[in-house]
């Protein structure tokens, strides 16, 4: 029990050293102010202890200069901390272009993951070292939180919406995934692991046991099976807008507003089609609530994304 008592988790992602640097700065700052206050308290308590002939303190009026000084100093320090913390956060929330897109669905009490190539995993995520990995996450029931301490990465996984997070592993190894949002009886048992491998091993892993059907292809199959193609024709039509090249574009809506066609927009359009009507179309699409699972929606999104990539490739 007392052997290898670690004080800090390993650094295994590009973000870990950056978070730790601010953390260590905060520790140094806390030590300085904590020890300063502790020293002053002990020093004053001893030096000005009550003794015969010294029964009353000397009341000194406050010095405005001193008050301004010890208001301004904490203000300056907290502003440094704010900008430092914010600069890390902006990068934590901004997945780099070209990240591997992993779909994550949480439920009581497991993680279901799918790679773009189609591989599905439960409570395990194989990733290559040195490449950013973006997680698009949702939950089938309560709120969970995807936490990998060694990556200094955490994001809540919320039913009814997508949240995203990303990491880039820097070291091969296995790192625990712990659910950090209380989610019911087996909360502490909702465990998984990230297995970071060399790119070559990762390619091999992708090849072995492959389904042969990528996430986008699975989405395409679903697209056909649900009859989406009847209205959403690739050449466009009067029934529904074409989805080719849609992903990531700004869409003009009936009510004059506009929306960016991201994961959340597509999910909403499938489950609640009346929420945002594209300009020039009638509100005729039925809801697919109950007809398609969270994983299915993520596959449909992968398919719609792939349509944009095809278009981009064609344009070149």
């Amino acid at each position: 029990m007392w052997q290898n008592l670690p004080l800090f988790p390993q650094q295994a992602s590009t973000m870990a050293p950056r978070v730790d640097a601010l953390f260590f700065f905060l520790i140094a700052l806390s030590l300085f102010f904590g020890l300063l206050i502790a020293f002053l308290i002990v020093y004053f308590a001893v030096k000005y202890r009550r003794r015969p002939g010294y029964e009353r303190g000397v009341s000194i009026d406050a010095s405005i200069a001193l008050e301004i000084f010890w208001t301004a100093v904490p203000f300056g320090i907290t502003m440094v901390l704010f900008f430092w913390g914010a600069s890390i956060f902006l990068d934590q929330t901004q997945p780099p272009v070209g990240a591997i897109d992993i779909a994550v669905v949480g439920r009581q009490w497991m993680w279901k993951l799918q790679h773009p190539e189609g591989q599905r995993e439960i409570d395990e995520l194989h990733v290559p070292v040195g490449r950013p990995v973006k997680l698009t996450m949702t939950s089938e029931d309560v709120i969970h939180s995807f936490f990998v301490p060694e990556f200094r990465m955490k994001m809540d996984v919320v039913p009814g919406r997508y949240t995203t997070a990303w990491f880039e592993a820097t070291k091969e190894g296995e790192y625990p995934i712990r659910c950090s949002q209380y989610c019911g009886a087996q909360h502490s048992g909702m465990l998984g692991r990230v297995i970071a491998m060399t790119p070559a091993d990762y390619q091999q892993w992708l090849g072995g046991g492959a389904t042969g059907v990528s996430a986008a292809q699975a989405g395409q199959n679903l697209f056909q099976r649900l009859g989406c193609a009847t209205c959403h024709k690739s050449e466009g039509g009067s029934q529904g807008p074409s989805l080719a090249g849609l992903f990531g574009k700004t869409v003009k809506l009936q009510d004059g507003k506009s929306a960016v066609a991201d994961e959340g927009y597509i999910r909403e359009s499938i489950l609640d089609p009346q929420a945002k009507i594209v300009a020039g179309f009638q509100p005729v699409m039925p809801t697919f609530k109950g007809l398609v699972s969270e994983e299915g929606i993520l596959q449909l999104i992968a398919y719609i994304k792939s349509l944009s990539q095809q278009e981009r490739t064609a344009a070149k």
Partner: protein, 543 residues
């Protein structure tokens, strides 16, 4: 003059009815003292069970479902039925009228009603515990609480809902009393800082509590009538709950700590026997905390899916709310300078408070630093941080305050040597319990974990060992304070040589507090003057 008076508020009437139907703020303070003490040990019992379970990595003492009820009952009891009412309703009730030179609060019957409402809410919560408990955590996050939990959520939220009205009415009573019933000459800037702190707290009570009431009502309605406010499948939004919940529950942190800061200002001045350093800075920092405290709730949601933009703004505001607290710490420390410092038990608690509150405040900066918060959010780092504020801050100040005013409340002094030992035991036990949790959190142990990886055991064992020491530190005062009711030395009106108005009347005070209405002619904490130069008891009481 210095002996106990013949007739005072405690012996003016006997019998259970004279207590249950009293409108005397001092007796109502006792009703609260007894009830929050019971709730404290009830909540402490669950804390003990939590620490016992966490001695070993395997969840082997109780089932996960049971453990989840333990930490929920611990949190609900300690937050809503101990920390929130403790200092305001016990010490505030006893002291506010005496400190402003009034014979009671503005609305004595409303004050008694507040206690009954508090007890009614407590009974609902105890009933939910008796019926099998609740397992949502004290934060009642949806959709777990509104749809998925199979425990007594509705009963518990009704209890918390009802208790909220007690807070609102108490806050109202304090605000009116402080505005309208100050003794002649007692201007705002002559008020004791405890009154400023209670005033700021009361504003939060009045403005914040209705929000938690509505929020929990919505959870109850969603559960019972299936309304779907927070259910995404029916167009609801689970994150909306978090906004509403923390809109109250973050200011509630200041409900718990502002009164403690008020007590701290009284203790530090009384035991350093000098005027507080930077009176107006300490006073206004209380109001600043109350106001800015309403604008920082989003820091509980940095990884909950709110926008990046919102995260950055809440991070900035959270840093700003730290500054008034820092100002207070510096001023208390400066108050020690050239004081005449004695080491009586209340002062040991007060000095411990500064140290522990400083650690709690500094670790708050870690959490406001949004890039670091992503890693430590919902881990034991957060648990350690808020226990440093709530227990290291509020409970230390509460105990310090109870010891300080015990002679006034009872007319007896507690045994000083054993009280000093108890204060040291609390300080050591507290640090051993909670400091290891900072390390556990950074290592990545999430909160509300029934079982945990074996490499976390050593730190958890330290924490549990500390908790057993802490428990001794809490039981000791219970014993010797009760003992002192009968065997304590007669205190006299002002055993500490303090300058507060409450010390200028006999101990225990008469029912009407002062025989003649005092006139205040000098500022608070005038330790360079004699009490007679601060207060004049010339004119006969109109009461």
């Amino acid at each position: 003059m210095n002996g106990a008076p013949q007739v005072h508020y405690l012996n003016v009437d006997y019998g259970i009815r004279s207590w249950l139907f009293t409108t005397d703020h001092k007796r109502i303070a006792w009703l609260y003292l007894l009830s929050v003490t019971l709730f404290f040990f009830f909540g402490g019992f669950f804390a003990t069970l939590i620490r016992l379970e966490l001695m070993t990595p395997q969840g082997d003492l109780v089932q996960a479902e049971t453990y989840n009820k333990f930490f929920t009952m611990h949190g609900v009891t300690m937050v809503f039925f101990f920390l929130i009412p403790s200092i305001p309703a016990v010490l505030g009730n006893f002291l506010v009228p005496m400190m402003v030179g009034a014979r009671d609060l503005a609305f004595p019957r409303l004050n008694l009603a507040s206690w009954y409402i508090f007890i009614l809410g407590g009974l609902f919560t105890l009933a939910s515990a008796a019926a099998g408990g609740v397992d949502t955590g004290w934060t009642f996050y949806t959709p777990y609480s509104s749809i998925y939990s199979n425990s007594h959520v509705a009963l518990t939220v009704v209890g918390v809902f009802v208790t909220g009205f007690s807070s609102i009415l108490t806050g109202l009573n304090f605000v009116v009393t402080i505005h309208k019933m100050r003794a002649p000459g007692l201007t705002w800037f002559r008020l004791p800082l405890f009154i400023w702190a209670i005033y700021a707290t009361s504003i939060i009570f009045i403005l914040g509590t209705p929000v938690i009431a509505i929020t929990l009502l919505l959870v109850g309605l969603e559960r019972v009538f299936n309304l779907g406010f927070f259910d995404p499948a029916r167009g609801g939004d689970p994150v909306l709950f978090q906004h509403l919940f923390w809109f109250y529950s973050h200011p509630a942190v200041y409900i718990m700590v502002l009164p403690a800061m008020g007590v701290e200002s009284e203790l530090v001045t009384a035991f350093a026997r000098r005027r507080v350093f930077g009176y107006s800075f300490v006073a206004f920092s209380s109001l600043a905390i109350a106001v800015i405290g309403f604008l920082v709730w989003g820091h509980h949601m940095f990884v909950a899916g709110q926008s990046v933009h919102a995260g950055l703004i809440f991070s900035l505001l959270s840093f700003l709310v730290a500054i008034p607290s820092a100002i207070k710490v510096f001023n208390w420390t400066a108050t020690l300078h050239r004081g005449s410092i004695s080491y009586d038990a209340p002062m040991l608690y007060a000095l411990g408070f500064i140290g522990l509150f400083t650690i709690g405040g500094l670790t708050g900066l870690f959490l406001a630093s949004i890039g670091v918060d992503v890693h430590v959010h919902d881990t034991y780092f957060v648990i350690a941080h808020f226990h440093y504020i709530m227990v290291g801050g509020s409970v230390m100040a509460y105990l310090g305050g109870i010891h300080f005013w015990w002679p006034k409340m009872t007319g007896r002094t507690y045994p000083e040597p054993v009280a000093r030992v108890a204060a040291l035991i609390v300080f050591l036990g507290f640090n051993l319990t909670f400091f290891p949790q900072f390390v556990l959190g950074y290592l990545g142990m999430p909160r509300r974990y029934h079982a945990y990886p074996p490499e976390f055991q050593a730190l958890n064992v330290m924490s549990s060992a500390g908790a057993s020491i802490l428990a001794v530190g809490y039981v000791l005062p219970l014993i010797y304070l009760i003992w002192s009711l009968r065997y304590g030395r007669v205190a006299g009106r002002n055993p500490w040589g303090a300058r507060g108005l409450e010390w200028q009347t006999p101990s225990p005070p008469p029912t009407h507090n002062f025989d003649v209405t005092p006139r205040v002619v000098a500022e608070a904490y005038a330790y360079d003057k004699e009490p007679e130069e601060t207060y004049e008891f010339g004119s006969p009481s109109r009461a």
